[in-house]
């Protein structure tokens, strides 16, 4: 975008075409054959998914009694997981849109990784929230008897809108890529070839097609920013709109959004590392990218730190009644271990360590990013459970199982399955489509595929 527009001489075109061919080969190579390890990985994910399905079958059969949830801890890891998935899905908007409106171009090879994480995350967010319902068969009541005053309804609207936008934002820039698959991967099974043909939308790279695509992407990039902020703010409102000490916070919206960007960016770093290694994309996802992502992570961790100070230090300073009980529980009580680990490994350490350039090397930064993601999940658990276990009225004279919450194996199996489901979507996508956008990456190198296509089409 910001590169100088060169005049395309035949020699230059020749050179650029060669570069395109090279990259096409590099990007499509992983799609040609699935190795043994790749098959095992998919089998592993499918098995976890199936175990989760069986666990959900048990839950449907016997009711939510099979979970560790009871009247006080009425929400548990299903909801934590929902918030987590919504959180990581925000990174799609961050990478492909927020950065697009800056003058940076380095992010372009990783947009697709970010987008597929977003799509997979928001898909499973929608599914896991259904799992939490006591009466999933009445889901349609949301549409036949909607109550516009309920944040859940807002969430339904925003999640479905964000899913649609994310899918479109994944799909549109993929069109040239699908066309390449259609043209190149002719030895694939019939269904796959048919799928490429169908999804490519007859892409031939005409001037008109490029123009419509780029304009559409621009429009999506504009609306996805408010959408991303809305989806996570509304999700935070599921808590903040209540009167419970710990949730009754006006800081929740930005606090959630900041945490989401941090968690999602860490996910993308892990994704970058894995795809770079497994698909041998060192040429395209370079150390520079990790370096930049490291800096971004520091920046986001600091912002998140700022909101954490507001979220925890401000009430701690006041130690107001019921909230004091909760804060003691988090700072020095039964949740202290999890709480401080989450703050340390999920926020402090990455912010401090990644300041050093050496730490932003692919391997090390991934090692730092993994706990960021893990503790981002834990943090969402800490946002849900301790608050429910510290209500205004004391929890008295109830069975032992009501006073604590520990997820049952059914819950753990279902949540694991949903995590496996996210990975499965990403894996299968990356098995069928190029995980790096060729035209966007080359644009970064000053090669406009639009112009090349124009030239080729003219020739033909």
């Amino acid at each position: 975008m910001n590169t100088e527009h060169q005049i395309l001489t035949p020699e230059l075109a020749e050179k650029q075409s060669l570069r395109r061919e090279e990259m096409r080969a590099d990007v499509l190579r992983p799609l040609e054959k699935i190795g043994m390890l790749g098959k095992l990985w998919i089998a592993f994910l499918v098995i976890i998914l199936l175990i989760g399905c069986y666990a959900y079958y048990l839950q449907l059969k016997d009711g939510l009694i099979v979970t560790g949830l009871r009247d006080y801890a009425t929400w548990g890891i299903y909801i934590s997981n929902f918030v987590f998935f919504v959180a990581i899905s925000l990174v799609g908007a961050l990478i492909s849109s927020v950065l697009r409106f800056t003058n940076f171009t380095w992010y372009r090879p990783i947009t697709r990784i970010a987008e597929i994480i977003a799509v997979a995350g928001v898909c499973w967010a929608g599914l896991i929230i259904i799992v939490d319902m006591g009466r999933p068969e009445r889901l349609l009541n949301l549409f036949t008897h909607p109550r516009l005053q309920s944040p859940i309804l807002w969430d339904v609207v925003v999640v479905s809108t964000y899913l649609t936008t994310s899918v479109l934002l994944l799909y549109l820039p993929l069109l040239p890529g699908i066309a390449i698959c259609r043209n190149t991967l002719t030895n694939k099974p019939k269904w796959q070839r048919w799928m490429y043909k169908f999804l490519a939308l007859g892409w031939t790279g005409t001037e008109q097609q490029w123009k419509i695509m780029k304009r559409s992407i621009k429009m999506l990039c504009i609306i996805i920013i408010p959408l991303a902020i809305s989806i996570h703010t509304v999700t935070s409102w599921l808590f903040a709109m209540t009167l419970r000490p710990g949730w009754d916070s006006t800081n929740f919206g930005p606090y959630f959004v900041a945490g989401a960007f941090l968690a999602g960016t860490a996910c993308v770093i892990i994704g970058m590392f894995v795809f770079r290694k497994v698909y041998h994309l060192e040429k395209y996802i370079t150390e520079v990218h990790f370096d930049h992502m490291g800096k971004l992570l520091v920046f986001l961790a600091l912002i998140y730190f700022y909101f954490n100070v507001n979220e925890y230090f401000v009430p701690y300073y006041k130690m107001k009644g019921a909230e004091a009980r909760l804060l003691n529980d988090l700072f020095s009580g039964q949740f202290a271990g999890l709480y401080w680990s989450a703050q340390l490994f999920g926020m402090f350490l990455p912010a401090v360590l990644l300041i050093f350039k050496k730490m932003r090397k692919p391997g090390i930064i991934t090692l730092i990013a993994v706990p960021v993601v893990v503790f981002a999940w834990v943090k969402r658990y800490l946002i849900v459970t301790p608050i429910l276990l510290n209500p205004y009225l004391p929890i008295q004279d109830v069975p032992e199982s009501w006073m604590n919450y520990f997820p049952s194996w059914v819950e753990i199996a279902i949540v694991s399955a949903s995590l496996a489901g996210v990975l499965l979507i990403i894996t299968i996508f990356a098995r069928l489509f190029p995980i790096i956008s060729i035209w966007e990456t080359l644009e970064n190198e000053g090669i406009e595929l639009e112009d090349l296509d124009k030239l080729n089409n003219e020739k033909a």
Partner: protein
């Protein structure tokens, strides 16, 4: 502990009976004759005297007014009977056989302001239990119009079809704009397909 209340109650009853038996014996001479022959009658008069609403219970045995009878006044409520004197204290009849109590000006009645007042003599040593009741339009009329209006108001706590208009409109506008753009983008996909075909032909 659970039975404390009951036990107390029982004990009171016991003591009451224990005391009243000898008292009855002493009282027999002068009162028993009348009591047995002429049952007490009670008339309840609900009158406004000097703009004070007054409930008067007149207790007579034949044509002789009875003095010192303990009368309790109640107003019928939907649940139970509300004593007109706090804590359900009784009023004693005077030498004309009249026990009276002021009816409060601010006590709600039914939709028409009607209240049912009753006067009760409970467990009188000589005359037993009897009561008289009457209805009168002394109660204030509590308007439930406001209650209904409040309930019908559009609000955040109300039902789905009573969502606040600002919510409906703002949600509507946002949804129309965003989905308008999305549908346009989806339509662009069709245009992309067409744009490819043209070139081929």
């Amino acid at each position: 502990m659970i039975n404390n209340f009951r036990n107390k109650w029982l004990r009171k009853l016991f003591i009451g009976i224990a005391i009243s038996i000898p008292m009855c014996l002493f009282a027999q001479d002068d009162k028993q004759a009348e009591a047995e022959n002429v049952p007490a009658t009670m008339k309840l008069k609900l009158v406004v005297e000097d703009s004070v609403k007054t409930c008067k219970a007149i207790i007579m045995a034949g044509d002789k007014p009875l003095e010192g009878i303990q009368v309790k006044f109640y107003v019928k409520r939907f649940f139970g009977s509300l004593p007109l004197i706090a804590n359900g204290k009784a009023v004693s009849t005077d030498e004309t056989g009249v026990a009276s109590v002021k009816f409060p000006n601010d006590l709600p009645g039914d939709a028409n302001g009607t209240v049912i007042v009753s006067a009760k003599v409970e467990d009188d040593d000589n005359y037993g239990t009897f009561e008289a009741k009457d209805s009168v339009k002394w109660g204030t009329i509590v308007s439930t119009a406001l209650q209904e209006e409040e309930w019908n108001e559009r609000s955040l706590v109300g039902s789905g079809n009573k969502a606040p208009l600002y919510l409906i409109y703002s949600a509507g506008v946002i949804i129309i704009i965003v989905w308008g753009i999305l549908l346009y983008v989806i339509y662009s996909l069709v245009k992309i397909k067409k744009a490819g075909k043209v070139k081929k032909v």
